[in-house]
Symmetry: D2
């Protein structure tokens, strides 16, 4: 057992909170002084994480952020920014019937093995509830990045086998945020929604793929070899509950491309270096190359399904169960803003490290 809830170098994020405890929250340390919190961005991002569509969990607690330190008149002081969101809508009773049962696909068994804990209502620390805190920190980081001309968008490019044809070009925030499935392509969105209805009706769940784009990133971010931009992003993204894979540029799909096709050729364009393609997804040798950063994250289907399942209890006896609580048929749409948040935190840190030594000083 060891401390695993702090992340980052110059900007450090420490997270805390269990699903049905008092609060979830975090401490964002290393944020420069003198920045005003973009409250509208914060609110928008929290709403994006919030369940609203019919295929999402009916747990509806308002995510009201309380800042405990680090701000004065909504402006950063340079000291750590602590915040919490109360868990106002926890209904542990929903879980009473599942007491002592290792729910399939859930953290119950591994938490029991690691911490000696009985299965906790709502999943405890392993619940997706903790991602609300990531979004708060990510909103602060994204606000910072935008002032430097850097922006991030994450959207759904696949739900189950329903995929969006995607050219890897920038997507407008409104097209993504207004879509219940966070898919900016209307035709694909409609297919996805129809499919999710089926899944919902079958009380089942399905996974999804989140595509993330970053524009405005200067060349030079990332610290070889373990601090490579894609390596640190991979850690940050894979720490999100339910993430099972992450790739960059062509990623896994790039196996069909030969080197002669894959290489992104640099050209001069109005005195600026640009690339004829973006197969590498904006990262070469672990360092941003100035191209759009392109990353994809695979999320597994939600573990809680309403169909009949069997499992064992903490005594090792077989049990049959049906989970009736409030759950998502697909949490990938809600997770997309969490991917944006984690990406923002990584990029802000990488940007500051990049700036820690400027030859022009």
């Amino acid at each position: 057992m060891a401390a695993g809830n702090t992340f980052g170098t110059l900007v450090k994020l420490t997270l805390f909170g269990e699903s049905h405890g008092d609060s979830v929250g975090g401490v964002l340390d290393g944020f420069p002084a003198g920045y005003t919190v973009n409250e509208s961005l914060l609110k928008t991002m929290l709403q994006q994480r919030f369940p609203s569509a019919s295929f999402e969990t009916a747990r509806r607690e308002e995510d009201a952020v309380e800042f405990l330190s680090g701000l004065k008149n909504k402006t950063t002081l340079g000291s750590p920014i602590a915040f919490r969101i109360r868990n106002t809508n926890a209904r542990p009773g929903d879980y009473e019937s599942l007491k002592n049962i290792f729910r399939p696909g859930h953290a119950d068994f591994v938490y029991h093995e690691k911490y000696g804990l009985e299965p906790q209502s709502g999943g405890g620390r392993a619940s997706g509830r903790e991602t609300a805190a990531r979004v708060v920190a990510g909103a602060l980081a994204l606000g910072f990045l935008r002032e430097k001309g850097i922006d991030i968008i994450s959207y759904i490019s696949a739900i189950g086998s329903e995929k969006m044809i995607d050219a890897g070009d920038w997507k407008e925030e409104s097209a993504v945020f207004n879509s219940p499935v966070r898919c900016p392509d209307h035709e694909a969105e409609s297919r996805m929604q129809q499919y999710l209805k089926q899944i919902s009706n079958a009380k089942d769940s399905i996974g999804g793929c989140v595509t993330t784009l970053v524009r405005g990133l200067p060349a030079g971010l990332g610290e070889p070899v373990f601090g490579k931009l894609n390596a640190v992003l991979a850690q940050a993204i894979m720490s999100i509950p339910g993430a099972k894979g992450v790739d960059f540029g062509e990623g896994f799909a790039g196996l069909h491309l030969k080197g002669s096709e894959y290489n992104d050729v640099p050209v001069m364009n109005n005195g600026k270096v640009q690339f004829e393609s973006n197969h590498s997804g904006g990262v070469q040798a672990g360092i941003s190359n100035g191209n759009i950063l392109l990353m994809k994250t695979a999320f597994r289907p939600a573990s809680s399904v309403g169909t009949a399942q069997h499992s064992i209890d903490t005594e090792g006896h077989r049990v049959d169960l049906k989970i009736s609580g409030r759950h998502d048929a697909c949490f990938a749409p809600r997770a997309s803003i969490v991917v944006t948040a984690m990406t923002a935190i990584v990029l802000m840190d990488a940007w500051l490290q990049f700036k820690s030594y400027d030859r022009e000083f």
Copy 2:
């Protein structure tokens, strides 16, 4: 610019070295005292990284490891284990014609932007040459893990579109290590070799997929939320040159599975908890569940191809180039042992963290 070459918590690996400098090497710190180095394992693993097949680079320097500290009579002292491998076969002359040219797909451009460096012969720090040091450290870690009953195997499951049908079951070391493409399936191996011949003849390159299995892992390794086992592995793996994607269990392919199919159901088997399936790849909620750990890594095609390409030089002028040096048509087979090495380092650290507090104490 910041220090990025150190990795780990209780066991820390620090790497150093450029392709055509004096040496590549590392410092492995935190290794417990009293372990005898398994020299045969070390030698075998270094040979696995070493190019030998016809489709691989003809750069043939013997990787002789010199230990500088941390050992006495081949036994660990508990102090940092420093080692280096000399670069004996560097031929910077090969790169003379490419001076000042940003080779497509290579680190030249981003290193120029980040460090202000002219393109370095052999790729400098960004060269795959540094992975020899990872293999040394990984061999020590794997030797440690094997004494705890944990073993790792990595093999090639795809080269280009040539795939191996794979049930995710354990593969014997001999079947993998004796295959020039590191594929334990003879039929697939033969298809891959034929395909690589075509690629080689066309002076082109192709990517590959490495599958990694870990057996004997106890349940409980991994430290939520940022120290989740899959998160730390993802960072470690994505730091390997040429890695463009990593996933666990079903990973990206898991999008077609519903939750009712995906969940790994626990059952009691002779007083031990086992699972009816392994869709999650042995990691649940970021913690090992005692199942076989299953991870896949996507490697891009080698950037150096012998076909005609164009690019720009450091002045921004367009140049036409043909790269004639010594390169791999596919480096994924050689990279597979590097994946094993990094996996071993992560697991050894996670194992020690897991043991840092034992309720039985």
Copy 3:
């Protein structure tokens, strides 16, 4: 500007809070699961930090700890333990007359240079107020250590030139905690109190020396070379507001001892290794030797004095000032429990690192 508020390896403490903001608090991560919080110890330690004697600040807010996560039924879950203490008694008005003035000896000037901040009422992040959070975390750590047979006591061995004759032997908690100046020696205590009265009457302040003893520490704690026990303790202790020096064993006073006198000679005593003396203070080569750990901390006089002073304002104009707020004539007695708290946190982490690899496994 960088994140500086997180400390530790296996147990990580992250602190937050400004003097006159909403709260001070922290997140203690890596605490093993299954421990019940010793509430009485927590309360006692917070009271020790709390001003009560006549020579201490009249700021009297009850330090009520709210746990936000990591506990269920007062028992640790293995997840991060977040807590906060509200700032209920802040009176920013007291500082109105000092607006824009760099108070001598305070952080105002350096915070202005570093963060671009106007002098903050109460000192902001630099206030001693943050140490309440250290005490909370330290109380949890000390509770843990006591279950392992390890105990810590800190007491005042000097205030100004009034010193206690001290043999370095263990001091009972009651003798320390019941003394208003935290001095277990009645004669010295009485001299100190008399002296403090003079200082108080003169509206001046004075520094003090805190001596810390640890008993029950096994030999073997500390990780050479940068994780040496005395090195990590030194960082932890010097991070306490007002600490200006730390030493171990004979420390600075040891200059008069020759090597033949200084060396602690090991002898066998009932099958256990003991030492004939303790000049090294229980730490040899950065590792605990099983002897009583002995450490001393020098605290400067409080910066806020009621006498006439001059300084400059943020515009650089000379100003004359008299500070009338609520302040300590000597904060060293209150700081002694903070030294205990930081010592406990360091030792708990060192103990877990020590246990991360046990040759008996």
Copy 4:
């Protein structure tokens, strides 16, 4: 057991090596690209650590530094700078008679308890020999700092009870480096030398105090609360073999000063903020204030003395011993350059962190 040999945030130093192993050395990572190594400074600093005076050990191996990576044409590449110094003059035979004996004051016993090691000839990892590597890294860091207008000097202010009257003003390098005891005051130097002769003749040893000054430091370095400049320096300094105490400004001696005397009053001087005094030693609230940084380090007497001693062996039997090897009567003069080196490494890191966010960007 855990990794303890890496230090720093943006600049990371990893050290390795045992006294009688192959080499001592290190890896300095995060050093910005484009700096030319000041070889003359490096040589001078290594010579300062080298024993030459009659009261110092007769072990005379030339400290020839071999750079293994990170440099090209003596210029930094931005990649990790690895280096080693071979142990050419090790004479393990000297230690044969001490086999299995826990030498008093040495690391033998604690290393046995921690690592299960037999007493190692020359002290192994615990030997002062490792400080040669610190000096190499420190010389690179000091070269960097000097280009930013920052300089460091460390000198001997006391040996045993022989003290130098010191006003805390800057000392010239030549006055320090040319003195066999590194004391820039002729009168004190002569007293110290005479005293050391007595100690040497008695085959005994004695401790010393090193005073360190830093000039040219801008206000603003240091990251509250655990990254406070004095806290990080304290860790760095206390990690040096034999260091038993560290203080800043008045430090332990400041107990006799009242707050009204202690506070350093800021004044405007030609448009620049200066201070009327420097009791706080250039650090306020853990942040540099632009004044000269003043730090003192107490070193214990060398453990190896030639007088008759007794101890126990690894079996617990009492033994009488006389140590005849090559040792220092006082190692503080040689250690003074190590203090400079560690100070340089800390300040370079703090400077880069300070620059990681510049409001002018």
